[in-house]
């Protein structure tokens, strides 16, 4: 039998994490698959499991003015319908799996699972998101880009709980999100592209683009973005734009798609983002 812990207070949770080496479960939609064993046999989980869903203070979405503080127990379905959440992130969330899963899964869980194909990650990378990690000995706030170090790997230590995700608020006029999945719903991503641009008199004031499932971690290249910032949008050459991203897209062949396809389509969609803005000028 697996021992389960369901604290109501964060302090209690942090104590159990350090003293009991508990395994945090924030929705469990990835964790349960990870620990799957032959049907009818006992769970492979040997540590006590700590459910985060009863901790009230992790359920809120707080408006901090220039950013949002999203609690680790917020469900994907709640965020999908919360108008404070940037619409790009909401779009990405609305295409994850299916309603039943989104009613269990959390954004914090998606982040901690650190899958290269985690669909919430590209929008979070665009918004320079940070994660807040708490333990009995204190808290630290870390950029998401430093938090995730590889497929399934983060710098979270066993006694830490990811308590909040900080997302900068943004009023982007031109947003772009495209998930290329294996089917219309309940699908894992072959690749995803998320982007936004801010224009003033057709001059690119800001431009950001992130790609999921085309490298060990989400691809976001500020150096490439800077090349095009300051230029007039109608002067951006689509081929040049594609070429600037090409070296950074390094996908693999797996059971869901091919490296060749992922790369080609990621670059097609990158070009499509620019072309759509140009066409709507």
């Amino acid at each position: 039998m697996v021992e389960t812990l369901r604290p109501r207070k964060l302090d209690e949770a942090l104590t159990w994490l350090s003293e009991r080496k508990a395994l945090p479960l924030a929705g469990g939609t990835d964790l349960m698959v990870h620990f799957r064993n032959y049907t009818g046999t006992d769970s492979l989980i040997v540590r006590p499991v700590l459910f985060t869903d009863a901790i009230d203070e992790l359920h809120s979405v707080e408006d901090l003015g220039d950013s949002l503080k999203i609690g680790a127990a917020c469900l994907l379905s709640e965020l999908e319908n919360n108008e404070l959440v940037p619409s790009l992130l909401r779009q990405a969330i609305s295409q994850i799996a299916a309603p039943a899963l989104r009613n269990r899964a959390t954004l914090a869980g998606n982040v901690c699972n650190a899958s290269p194909a985690g669909d919430s990650l590209p929008p979070l990378y665009l918004y320079d998101s940070h994660v807040v990690l708490a333990s009995s000995s204190g808290t630290r706030t870390i950029p998401l880009v430093d938090f995730i170090t590889g497929p399934g790997k983060t710098i979270r230590t066993d006694d830490e709980l990811l308590t909040h995700i900080l997302v900068s608020k943004s009023q982007n006029e031109k947003i772009y999100y495209r998930k290329v999945g294996t089917r219309a719903a309940n699908a894992l991503s072959k690749l995803t592209v998320a982007a936004f641009a801010e224009l003033e008199n057709n001059i690119i004031m800001d431009l950001r683009m992130a790609f999921g499932a085309v490298a060990p971690v989400v691809v976001r290249e500020r150096a490439v973005e800077i090349i095009f910032i300051g230029k007039s949008i109608d002067q951006v050459d689509l081929d040049e734009f594609r070429q600037a991203y090409a070296p950074h897209i390094r996908p693999i062949d797996d059971q869901r798609s091919t490296a060749l396809y992922r790369k080609e389509v990621a670059l097609n969609l990158a070009g499509d983002f620019i072309r759509k803005i140009q066409e709507n000028l």
Binding site: V33, N37, Y38, T39, G40, T41, D42, A98, R178, V180, T182, R183, A184, A185, N186, A187, L188, K190, Q255, R256, S257, T258, L260, Y261, E264, V265, N268, L269, D272
Partner: protein, 711 residues
């Protein structure tokens, strides 16, 4: 006007299945049953030197080929006796069953299996058709890796090609397909009063009884009982025998009930799939484009052992000229052995592969001669009195013209086909097909010899006695309607228990679109006889035996005559849009019009049409199933093997045209399989129009389409 019987009634088994009350094998509480699990080869090909099993705690057992009694035979009794139930020395595919471990605690059984190690001499595996043709690692079967080979020809093909003004050639390929029934494979076996009982999820209780009988030997009594079955699609035609034979050996040896229920991942990794195919079609044409002759080289991938490959191959070959009457043809069919899980039965059974090749080739020919494909095809439509590919006869009216007219009306096919010529990335396609009902050749007469009975008890209650199972296709509804209509009894009041081979006569397996047409007809005739002889207060039972319809003949040596008593016919239309950025396809419309003779129940038929179309479109567009270098399926979970959801395809616009068949109950013919025969071909034809390129390979996933477009 549709026949009166077609009006739907609530399915008698519907409420229990929808509410969760129905008991599947996993729901039965066999209190003292031990958990049984197979262990399998962890290498693709070679010779076992030694199997080392960890020490067994008390109450745990290890069973292998040595436990088969000398009176029995360590062989799976499928069509040919080439596949040992337990591997002895030779291994031909990774995952081949070597033995089984059983005991009270599933965790301990799991741990024992993880501790087994096998010492072996490795042989290079032949994983693909090309590996098999190249005899990689030496021949797996015979001298040439041929499991089966058959040929059919008519007229002088060589002469036609030598005189042709033009020839058109194409190679068409289809992939593996996973049945993905909702309920995984599961059986319970126990011995009681010297009788071996098998209870579980099975399409063919008498096949299971036979296979168990063969491995145990003649002195044992065997009984197979169906538990409610949660889907099959052919996947529970052969596998319950493959699973049941070794399980019965173990139950007999140990003397305790054994319960074996597959985990989804074990089921997806190691149970039989649809045969992949590679079919080369060549046609000889005169200057105007008219077909003078067709030459077909049909290869299917049989996997490591025969299983049902010959019968699948026969259906593929006998379906290879489809709805067309071609004067001169030559068809060579081969089933090749590879080091993969033996391919098995799947809805359509060779026909979907053959129809894909044929319909895509007809599209290609029409493009070559700048003709509209439907006009091009119409020239060759079979009609009543024409010869079939095996020299039999089309005995019934062919109503293809009416069906096409209905399809045009519903889908606006020709109008859209024309207008999409000027609209990039949009296309519409049509596929035409027929499906022989019942067993191929004289299988019904010579092998199956079906019997079914209607029993009236003294209290007047009527009971259907048949071994046919309901795995969604509806006999629990339709059989009752047939018998009830004849006897004037409400269908819901008729009893129809889950088949038990100790109780019901052998009406044959639940396969091959034979249930309604063959078994339903026997029940209709039995009910008629009972009615004419009805004696109030008496126990009466009328048993009917199958008889070949008059005038039919079949020569099994020469493969000549009536391969099928009659055919179901279908017209499928599919409309698509292609995204040129991602090469994703979106099906925007699907239509299916069928000649099923007469529908016994409209909703049951519509359910088959909707599900069959989704499965066929999934086969054509999404269901990518590939093998790694060891021949192991790479998509072994529902997260990786993509069957369509309700969001992937629109609802199929469906209709049937009544065309009653004399030897079917109320004129009904088989239809459960043909709804999977054409959707994939209509889809690929639509994509061809949308992209303006040949698309000869399915599944036509975006990766494949991109490859085609970049050539």
């Amino acid at each position: 006007m549709k026949a009166e019987i077609s009006s739907s009634i609530p399915r008698p088994d519907g409420k229990a299945k929808a509410s969760g009350l129905a008991k599947y094998i996993g729901d039965h509480d066999y209190k003292d049953a031990l958990t049984a699990r197979f262990y399998r080869s962890d290498f693709p090909r070679g010779l076992i030197r030694n199997v080392s099993v960890p020490p067994l705690p008390e109450g745990y057992y290890h069973i292998n080929y040595k436990d088969v009694s000398p009176e029995g035979e360590n062989i799976l009794a499928l069509t040919r006796k080439d596949w040992p139930a337990f591997a002895e020395e030779e291994i031909r595919y990774k995952g081949q069953i070597i033995g089984l471990i059983c005991g009270p605690d599933p965790n301990v059984v799991d741990k024992i299996i993880k501790g087994i190690s096998i010492d072996f001499k490795a042989i290079e595996p032949a994983v693909t058709l090309d590996d098999s043709l190249a005899l990689k690692g030496g021949p797996l079967v015979g001298e040439d890796n041929l499991l089966d080979k058959i040929t059919l020809s008519h007229g002088d093909c060589d002469k036609a090609f030598s005189e042709a003004a033009e020839t058109v050639e194409g190679t068409y390929e289809t992939g593996f397909q996973e049945q993905l029934y909702m309920e995984p494979q599961g059986l319970v076996a126990w011995v009681e009063n010297d009788k071996v009982n098998i209870h579980g999820s099975m399409q063919c209780p008498y096949y299971v009884k036979h296979a168990v009988q063969e491995i145990l030997g003649p002195e044992y009594k065997v009984r197979a009982v169906e538990a409610t079955i949660g889907g099959g699609f052919g996947g529970k035609e052969d596998y319950p025998e493959i699973m049941g034979a070794p399980l019965a050996v173990a139950a007999l040896k140990i003397g305790k009930p054994l319960r074996m229920i597959f985990d989804r991942s074990e089921d997806m990794a190691w149970t039989s799939k649809r045969h992949p195919s590679r079919i080369k079609v060549r046609t000889a044409h005169d200057k105007s484009g008219e077909i003078l002759a067709m030459d077909i080289d049909c290869i299917i991938d049989g996997g490591a052992y025969e299983s049902y490959s010959l019968i699948v191959l026969m259906r593929a070959v006998f379906t290879s000229t489809g709805v067309y009457n071609l004067p001169v043809f030559n068809v060579e069919g081969r089933a090749l052995a590879t080091c993969t899980v033996p391919s098995g039965a799947f809805r359509g059974f060779g026909a979907p592969q053959a129809i894909f090749a044929l319909e895509m080739h007809m599209e290609k020919c029409s493009r070559k001669f700048h003709m509209e494909s439907l006009e091009f095809k119409k020239t060759y439509f079979l009609k009543k009195g024409d010869a079939t590919i095996t020299g039999g006869k089309i005995r019934d009216d062919v109503v293809l013209d009416k069906m096409i007219a209905r399809a045009e009306e519903m889908s606006l096919y020709s109008h859209k086909r024309k207008s999409y010529k000027d609209q990039p990335w949009k296309g519409i396609g049509m596929a035409l097909f027929n499906h022989g009902c019942g067993f191929t050749g004289d299988g019904e007469q010579r092998i199956i010899k079906a019997k079914a009975a209607v029993h009236k008890r003294a209290d007047g209650i009527v009971e259907i006695q048949s071994a046919a199972v309901d795995f969604g296709q509806g006999p629990r509804t339709t059989f009752r309607k047939i018998v009830g209509k004849i006897l004037g009894i409400p269908p819901q009041e008729i009893l129809y228990s889950l088949p038990d081979t100790d109780v019901v006569p052998d009406s044959g397996p639940t396969v091959a679109s034979r249930t309604i047409m063959i078994v339903g007809y026997l029940l209709q005739e039995a009910a008629k006889e009972l009615k004419s002889n009805w004696k109030e207060g008496e126990d009466q039972r009328v048993l009917k035996h199958y008889e070949m319809p008059p005038g039919m003949s079949w020569d099994q040596e020469k493969l000549q005559g009536d391969a099928y008593a009659t055919f179901g016919w279908g017209v499928n239309v599919c409309e698509v849009e292609v995204d040129p950025l991602t090469w994703e396809t979106r099906v925007t419309g699907a239509w299916g019009i069928y000649d099923v003779g007469v529908a016994i129940d409209e909703k049951v038929v519509n359910g088959q049409i909707q599900g069959g179309m989704s499965q066929a479109l999934g086969y054509g567009a999404m269901e990518n199933l590939t093998v790694d270098k060891d021949g192991v399926f790479q998509q072994r979970s529902m997260a990786d093997y993509m069957v369509p959801t309700t969001l992937d395809f629109p609802r199929t616009g469906a209709d049937t045209i009544d065309n009653p068949y004399e030897y079917g109950p109320f004129g009904a013919k088989g239809m459960g399989e043909m709804v999977h025969d054409g959707g994939h071909a209509a889809f690929a034809a639509a994509v061809e129009q949308a992209v303006g390129r040949d698309c000869p390979r399915i599944p036509l996933i975006p990766e494949t389409l991109m490859e085609i477009m970049k050539k």
